[in-house]
Symmetry: D2
Subunit: 343 residues, 4 copies
Amino acid sequence: MKTNMIRTGIIGISGYTGLAVFEILLKHPQVRLTYISAHTTQGPVDEIWPQLAGRTELICEKINIQKAIDQCDVIFLAVPHSSSMDITPKLLKAGKRVIDLSGDYRLKEASIYEKWYAHKHTDAQNLKAAVYGLPELYREKIKKAQLLSNPGCYPTAALLGILPIGTSMTNDITSIIIDAKSGVSGAGKKVAANLMFCEVNENFKAYKVCNHQHSPEIEGYLSNAAGKNLNVTFVPHLLPINKGILETIYIQLNTKTTAEKAHTLYTKFYKNEPFVRVRKLDVQPELKDVVDTNFCDIGIAVNETGNLIVVTSVIDNLIKGAAGQSVQNMNIMHGFAETEGLL
Amino acid sequence: MKTNMIRTGIIGISGYTGLAVFEILLKHPQVRLTYISAHTTQGPVDEIWPQLAGRTELICEKINIQKAIDQCDVIFLAVPHSSSMDITPKLLKAGKRVIDLSGDYRLKEASIYEKWYAHKHTDAQNLKAAVYGLPELYREKIKKAQLLSNPGCYPTAALLGILPIGTSMTNDITSIIIDAKSGVSGAGKKVAANLMFCEVNENFKAYKVCNHQHSPEIEGYLSNAAGKNLNVTFVPHLLPINKGILETIYIQLNTKTTAEKAHTLYTKFYKNEPFVRVRKLDVQPELKDVVDTNFCDIGIAVNETGNLIVVTSVIDNLIKGAAGQSVQNMNIMHGFAETEGLL
Amino acid sequence: MKTNMIRTGIIGISGYTGLAVFEILLKHPQVRLTYISAHTTQGPVDEIWPQLAGRTELICEKINIQKAIDQCDVIFLAVPHSSSMDITPKLLKAGKRVIDLSGDYRLKEASIYEKWYAHKHTDAQNLKAAVYGLPELYREKIKKAQLLSNPGCYPTAALLGILPIGTSMTNDITSIIIDAKSGVSGAGKKVAANLMFCEVNENFKAYKVCNHQHSPEIEGYLSNAAGKNLNVTFVPHLLPINKGILETIYIQLNTKTTAEKAHTLYTKFYKNEPFVRVRKLDVQPELKDVVDTNFCDIGIAVNETGNLIVVTSVIDNLIKGAAGQSVQNMNIMHGFAETEGLL
Amino acid sequence: MKTNMIRTGIIGISGYTGLAVFEILLKHPQVRLTYISAHTTQGPVDEIWPQLAGRTELICEKINIQKAIDQCDVIFLAVPHSSSMDITPKLLKAGKRVIDLSGDYRLKEASIYEKWYAHKHTDAQNLKAAVYGLPELYREKIKKAQLLSNPGCYPTAALLGILPIGTSMTNDITSIIIDAKSGVSGAGKKVAANLMFCEVNENFKAYKVCNHQHSPEIEGYLSNAAGKNLNVTFVPHLLPINKGILETIYIQLNTKTTAEKAHTLYTKFYKNEPFVRVRKLDVQPELKDVVDTNFCDIGIAVNETGNLIVVTSVIDNLIKGAAGQSVQNMNIMHGFAETEGLL
């Protein structure tokens, strides 16, 4: 084991996201896992997650901020919303770098956070300083971030699907509709009647129509990148599968465009990105192409008579939509190869 | 057994749609099944479909038009596209009533049919006379139809989801987008590499984006009902489930509306319909509420700032989207209670 | 509506079994539903189960035994184990007939019940009088039963799979192993971490190995029918599907037999049974052949060199394994055609 | 890239097994992929498998044995049964090492192969020399193997589940029953009516009861290890999931044993094995613990009154049951760490 490896910790190992971060870091050649903890569950990690037996002897401890400070260079927070802002200020004060996978530092205004998360924001100061960890948009800022706010799963697929048009044809856009479909792990590991097997299997439905907390996150960063307020209609649906998000995005223009022109715009925008793959014109990406990977695949089709661009954007909600992207951000923050541990 | 029962026949029992018609008719109190046939499979029906053992002793024969004429008052055609127009003219000429579940008589122009189905239309005469079997729109015409063209599964959910707005606020509509998701039985029982279990399970994708043969069917009947040409953008997706269609329909208006107003419009439009259930405002219908039934459930939500109505429309693609609706049409054609055999 | 229809009530409509009984009785031509109640949920039945909208206007009330007595001739109990024995004695005392779908009256010894259900049995008297509702075994007793104890789902498939051999070749049997696989609805509608979608989907496991409360039920009635104590090894597994049980049963003999002989034994045993279908020799029944029906399908194969009979037995756990069988029993108790409402 | 890396080739990249080998080798630090080919598909590998885009620029060629010989040190054959024995002799003659994932060299007698695979065996000579690649049984022989015959998926789980008892209590065993359940990828990527999504989803069935070609493979190697002929009854079932095998194995003894004793026997047998994890007594392994890994997890329970040991053995059929085990064998053959590329 190299002696100069980065010491990493995970707070919140008992959820699907914490596990996904753990599995990636376990194989990452530049880091050591030095601190693992959770709110309610303690003991050997492989008793919490039997699939890890034979691969780790780490122990999950009760959360102890001082220990995390003492034992880590960078800490991943995979805790529920509102719990993160209790922990983060202490870690930052001790000079640690924090990668927060909760929603606590994503919305730049405390008042907007409070409206959508129904919880008082108690750390407005760090909210301003937090860097939003979408590498394709903020790579330079991420390099120097002390507090990295990892994007939501839906916003990751949405922003990557809209940015090329949103930033170049801003004034031509008259409407953006995001019809999003997500596998069940997006809801986390919570026990809820509507997520029981028989309620989800062989079923399908929309939920939180025009009312999901990821709406303002998408609108905020899109508008910021576009330099103009852009509204989106966001309608999420629950897919009867474990992993994956597909978003079908309808961008209405008030000017003519062609399929080739739109497609070229996307391929150019992402030509140097290691984790965004623009499919050939009229080829539709599928969830199975990206599940268990850190890729975002994008398909482009155009209804030319209607001046409507139809973008399909697919990711694994737990990887590019959470754990994978958080490690991609860690790589950028520490000057590692951006794909390290992720291919 | 009553002596005045209607004698019914099915041509094309070996597909999922033919089976679904069979199962409904088997329990229908006003009809007898008198003729069963298929192109490639013959023998006892319960050897073709083992689940029917102990419930029927009927024999599936090789297709023989004269026998169908001799033994039936009304014939259901559950054959592939293009095969129906070979059979239908002969049945009509013999004075029989025909309920066609294929796509052959849905599009009113032979040229449009030929463009979308890639096949020459050889029965333009009956194409004009065929009645489109959406009871909520054409109930009066259906009563007297000799040739009933049963709607496609996607168009059924789409038209029922759009008609209340489409016919009353026609001039306010600037755009209609249909994001459709269907279970796999919608593709029929054909053996194809892209419908193998491992290719579909835990996967999700869009297909035939803006290019599906049900697009012109939706546009045609919608425009006809609205009295004005209305375009739709139609994007189907393949759900990893057996049965059910959910369509999320985005209707963009150029005028203000409210959620209550839109919802009232739908509840009034369907208040006497036995098979359309408009859910309470902001309640989302789920596939499992309609699978194995002839119901179409509709949910209404409105993005008031965006002047956008979001309609969700769900059906069982094999029942209200095919076999159930065909029996509903038969009931109307013969003066039976419209719900007979369907509740 | 006929005036002499049987008045039926359901106590416990909020679970999957209660719903399944409701749906069958709603279409049953000989009965009226006159009383619906549940422990924790009240209101219009179609608000508890949205799929019933437009099909019923019945109201679910808080459980009131006196009302059930006043309004019903026969009451179905679809309540959890231990709750039934609080209600049943009162209904019986008032002269009502009771069809109990819980496990409370299945095991004939209070002490055995207490060992396997971890609950004191408070109604030992009626335990003795209860008739076990497996029509294929106890049809004559069922006709006169006041208290009908409806079999468990696993025991239904197991007993039907073993009885032909168990009662005719009793002394040749040296071992019986039941490898059982069940869909998730068998666990009821309870909210539990291990039944969440992501924990079950794309997963499979054994549980309660040699330790399931249905073991003594199978052994008890099998031994009773055989006239000799027969032990079984019973290992249940959880299938990632909604509905259906398949049991692969290995009956080891100490004598030679042939596939034909074993198969003939089964076809003869069930030749007059309306709901048991013995498949042809070496044809394997599938879950999809019986799901949503009251049938039990049986397949026979023999390892002749090993003197081992391999029986596969499939049912829908909610229909033949619960609600359907309970209505079959009601039909027998009231002298209706046994298949009424069930085909 | 290191200069002394092993040059590896894959013949048969278009199936699920070939893909799985490819993905493991792509990340393996000790090897280079130098030759990729397939019978019917050619072109960039990432056009055959879109999920590989951005991860490889390798081209799949038409099969050319001489090229394989020129460019590789070791060749993985992921071709269908009977195709392997056409290719293998030529590779061996040129001095290459071959890892064959087909069934062609698993059964040691040509006559037995011909009975179960219904195909003449044309390479009896190499059949004798082939080493069966179950590392837990034949590690020493594997080190020197030129032709490695990789075990079938069912036999891998079966043998690992039986060997500890089979080799130590041989004379106490009176019967072995293997009730096996496999995900659909076990059938490969072939297009077949019975593997269509709607035929498998929400369904379950047994197939090839006592008649599967993996039976003699299990019996042969088990008997060989035990030093005595042992018969097994093998009944496979098709699970509606993509990946994973669970086998419930019933080992009947004619002597008393205890749960603790049986469990100790297993933990000792596997105490140094990197890829076999014996779970705690009475803990049941689940498919999700091993899917996407090279582990085999084993659970032990005992019906002490019946002298019956119930072993559950789970693997990922494509990893430990095929590609992962083949790379484990390659590691052993080349003196790499056995877990290299597999954890």
